[in-house]
């Protein structure tokens, strides 16, 4: 329990901490918007060479 700093101050600080996290976590809980998931996914896959119509075996491109 709050003791050494004086009850009121400790209580106020804990309320501030609580509100701060509530505000923050409200956004965190929204997860990853599609826009960002897509952005990261797109950059992950090496862009298929437009000249190769079918992107089957990656070895194909070497010949």
């Amino acid at each position: 329990m709050p003791g050494k700093q004086g009850g009121l101050n400790a209580e106020i600080q804990s309320r501030i901490g609580h509100q701060l996290r509530a505000m923050y976590d409200d956004v965190v809980r929204q997860g990853v918007p599609d826009r960002f998931a897509e952005l990261i996914r797109k950059l992950d896959v090496p862009k298929p060479d437009p000249q190769l119509g079918n992107t089957g075996d990656p070895e194909d491109g070497r010949s």
């Binding site: 923050y24 965190v28 826009r35």
Partner: protein, 182 residues
């Protein structure tokens, strides 16, 4: 290091807290998402400079914070409708009372100097250590500690001491005087 699947997953996992940080800093949901997008593009473009095994969230937060800083200098308080836009980003609208309290808290947070606000958010909400927060902000650990302390005491003054003024005699006095007709 190259962009491996696991690194990509880790970046993706950081997106929710990057958004929360961006919204806390900017007070504006649309602008926050633009900041996050730019952060991700920068991070992916510079992924080779990320040291494997080092703190990925801290690295991403540093990029976002620097982008916000340079952007902020350009715009200064160009966007002043922070409250309305922030509320719109919330999926779950808090109940009326809680909502009011929430708006007061946001308004108080906006009154803090930027240095103090970001330090408080990093330590008090994002859960970074003082050391990580210092690295993100490019300052000494002691500086972060004192910014966080000043932020806390200023917030408590704004929310719980200054608030007492709201109940000053003005309204009552005015009502009495007004009622007496003259």
């Amino acid at each position: 290091m190259p962009l491996t699947d696991s690194l990509r997953d880790d970046i993706l996992a950081s997106v929710p807290s990057l958004r929360a940080f961006a919204i806390s800093l900017s007070g504006n949901g649309d602008r926050a998402d633009d900041l996050v997008q730019e952060t991700l593009l920068r991070a992916l473009a510079n992924i080779d400079s990320f040291q494997p095994g080092s703190n990925l969230p801290a690295w991403l937060f540093t990029i976002l914070r620097n982008l916000f800083r340079s952007d902020y200098r350009k715009r200064r308080r160009e966007v002043e409708d922070a409250d309305g836009n922030y509320a719109k980003t919330l999926k779950t609208q808090p109940a009326q009372n809680a909502h009011l309290e929430f708006e007061e808290f946001r308004a108080a947070l906006d009154k803090l100097p930027q240095d103090q606000r970001e330090a408080l958010i990093l330590v008090g909400a994002s859960g970074f250590s003082y050391e990580d927060a210092a690295a993100i902000c490019g300052c000494a650990v002691g500086t972060i500690k004192s910014r966080v302390n000043r932020a806390r005491s200023k917030l408590s003054a704004l929310l719980y001491v200054e608030g007492a003024d709201d109940f000053g005699p003005d309204d009552t006095v005015r009502a009495v005087i007004g009622g007496s007709g003259g």
